[in-house]
Symmetry: C2
Subunit: 408 residues, 2 copies
């Protein structure tokens, strides 16, 4: 049995993924790991033996607190998918040789669907070759699209960010008292959890957004324009939250209708962006109103200055629970969040089979969308509100939040 | 002499314009104004006699604190320019009749260049017709482009927001360790103060942005691409801050090169947007790198959740100083901020001739741009850093900042 632990971060960063790293690190150390290593740029870096000594790098309690408040992935990330074991066993041989060299007993990977696929494959291969390394998955994604967990760490803070900025945008959009349509584009290729969070803006002091368009439902351009026009008869400023992933009934993304070459990069990759701008364009062509499109872009996933303390706490907890389970002998599992009650909000962790998580996507239940297809129901609000509660204030130094940096 | 005061807000909103409103309100009440009225939608609303009773609406100290923490213009805004007095004296006759009816003795207008033009014209007309109403201008603009004042309330908070999100974006952009160019578009049509604030991101824990493009200098597309390519030889992730107002040597805005119809609304108004996207497109066409464009859009002017306490305090002070001056008999002046020293930062208010402010624009001194035309000098940082210091935490209720709303 190895005496060291190793942890990696994978996929798109969030503003709380480093809190999970802090949870893994502290719990492994408390349970007697000699050294906790970090993979630089996930499994891809590990294949090149790029590791750092976290036990040394993040040693003080102040550094732990800074880590919790530092957005993006401290260790760097990757989007590397392991091949099937039968297709390319050499990759696995190489990885396990590196793990043996580092004397690893416990292996943690913080990420989303693809990362759970990685953990699943490593666990399977480990069993096959009789390795005693324990492999644990730690959930992370702003998209909230993982199965078998009530929600994912990262979602609460992104949802809070969206709720707050929608509130601010609604106020800004009403200031001139003229006819105005604001379309705000929010992340989420197939699942509308983030876009739905725009519904959180409504309250005693905010009229809220007027229309929410999720990727779970087909997008009809004519009905969209008709709705906007009808709404604007009663209310001059209309604010729309639209998912970047909304699709036409024929399956094409709405943003594909735009003929802007800027969406294609040198590799021919199409960025899923431009939906809001395209819709504003269509509105302006058809109606007598001013328009503005806003893309929340990466701002919504890296806003370390505005996080949910509930989310940060849970992100830390799932990291710690993964370490606990691994040290108790568990492998091939993901830590999930299990909600015990809504009011008061109570949530605990449990272990779930990683193969039931890897490569699946959880979408918004259609019954959480109102019958007019314009807004979320109370069920969604009851689900989402607890996740955005309370704040974790950054350490502001000379006017800016202080982060901790991995100098390798 | 009238016994009531009236105050209006004009032009683009900021996250601290309501702190100036609070300053005017409290100082007028303390000096004996019977009622303080607010114009709904500025001078345009006043012409339709749309006013609210602020003394009644914002009565408690809790409401004052909420007002300081509420972004956008509490009273609504307008972009109405008064005609020349000789061209259309009837507008003035109508306005002064309304002011007489409301028994106004003191008149305050919070805004930028155009708003100071309004105050100047009203003051001139008042003198012409022998009115004893005192007209005072209260500066406000995120653009920081007003003459005769060290800086403008609103700039510090917008600059802080830009510094913070640039720091977060720099972190996010380095996470995969691959070749990546992020171009961030920042407000400022003719003056680059906001874009320059991106320089604040650099520090012990942040490598900062790599290139800053201001509207004060002509933009050469070929040199821009050459710089990016050269920079990317040493550093994979390049982050660029670009002003929405950068222009080609021939005077056209860079965003005009884009052929995207989305920039033209139904009135044929061209929005100054799309610069970052156009530049990303050009980079992707010419280089082997991933690209991402981010537009800070209105988020940078309405981010009440992330303000500078220095800015909020000064915004309140200029409101109070305007009331003090008006009650002491001054008219036709603007309150300016006068810096006494950089370290320690000390700043006071003074009165300046409004006609020397109205319709002028203050740009960034060219000597505050480095010789490579890529970054700001230490002089700029010494100027800007004090303005972003300290925070005013929002009142978070159930996870969201609480605002105060004008229900008319």
């Amino acid at each position: 049995m190895g005496s060291n632990a190793i942890v990696g971060q994978s996929g798109g960063p969030t503003s709380v993924i480093n809190a999970s790293l802090a949870g893994v690190l502290e719990a492994c150390e408390a349970r007697g790991a000699k050294t906790v290593y970090g993979m630089t740029n996930g499994i891809q870096g590990l294949l090149e033996e790029k590791v750092v000594d976290l036990t040394e790098q993040v040693a003080s309690s102040l550094e732990i607190e800074l880590l919790k408040r530092t957005p993006s992935s401290y260790l760097g990330s990757c989007r590397y998918k392991l091949p099937d074991i039968t297709d390319d066993p050499q990759v696995y041989e190489k990885l396990f040789a590196i793990l043996e060299k580092l004397d690893i007993g416990w292996f943690f990977y913080i990420g989303g669907n693809d990362s759970m696929d990685t953990i699943n494959k490593l666990h399977q291969y480990g069993r096959m070759v009789g390795s005693d390394i324990r492999f644990m998955g730690v959930p992370k994604t702003i998209d909230n699209d993982l199965m078998l967990t009530d929600h994912t760490p990262g979602y609460g803070s992104a949802a809070k960010y969206i709720g707050v900025v929608m509130k601010e945008l609604v106020r800004d959009a009403t200031v001139y008292g003229n006819k105005f349509v604001t379309v705000v584009e929010i992340m989420g290729r197939n699942a509308g959890w983030l876009t739905a969070a725009a519904a959180l803006a409504r309250g005693e002091d905010c009229e809220g957004v007027d229309l929410i368009c999720l990727p779970e439902l087909p997008f009809h351009m004519d009905r969209f324009l008709t709705k906007i026009e009808a709404m604007q008869k009663d209310k001059k400023s209309i604010v729309v939250a639209v998912s970047e992933g909304v699709k036409l009934p024929d399956g094409r993304y709405v943003c594909e209708l735009s003929n802007d070459a800027a969406f294609i990069d040198a590799f021919g990759h199409r960025n899923l962006t431009g939906t809001a701008r395209y819709l504003c364009n269509e509105i302006a062509k058809n109606m007598d109103t001013r328009v503005r499109s806003v893309e929340l872009s990466t701002l919504q996933r890296c806003a370390g200055h505005l996080t949910s303390r509930t989310d940060i706490t849970e992100a830390y907890q799932v990291g710690g629970a993964a370490a606990k389970a691994a040290f108790e002998g568990t492998s091939g599992k993901m830590v999930a969040l299990k909600r015990l009650s809504d009011e008061p909000y109570q949530c605990t962790t449990e272990l779930v089979d990683i193969e039931k998580v890897a490569n699946y996507e959880k979408k918004i239940p259609l019954e959480w969308i109102n019958s007019y297809r314009t807004d979320m129901t109370q069920e969604f609000l009851t689900y989402a509100r607890p996740l955005i509660q309370a704040e974790l204030t950054p350490f502001f130094i000379a006017g800016l939040p202080r982060h901790i940096v991995n100098h390798g």
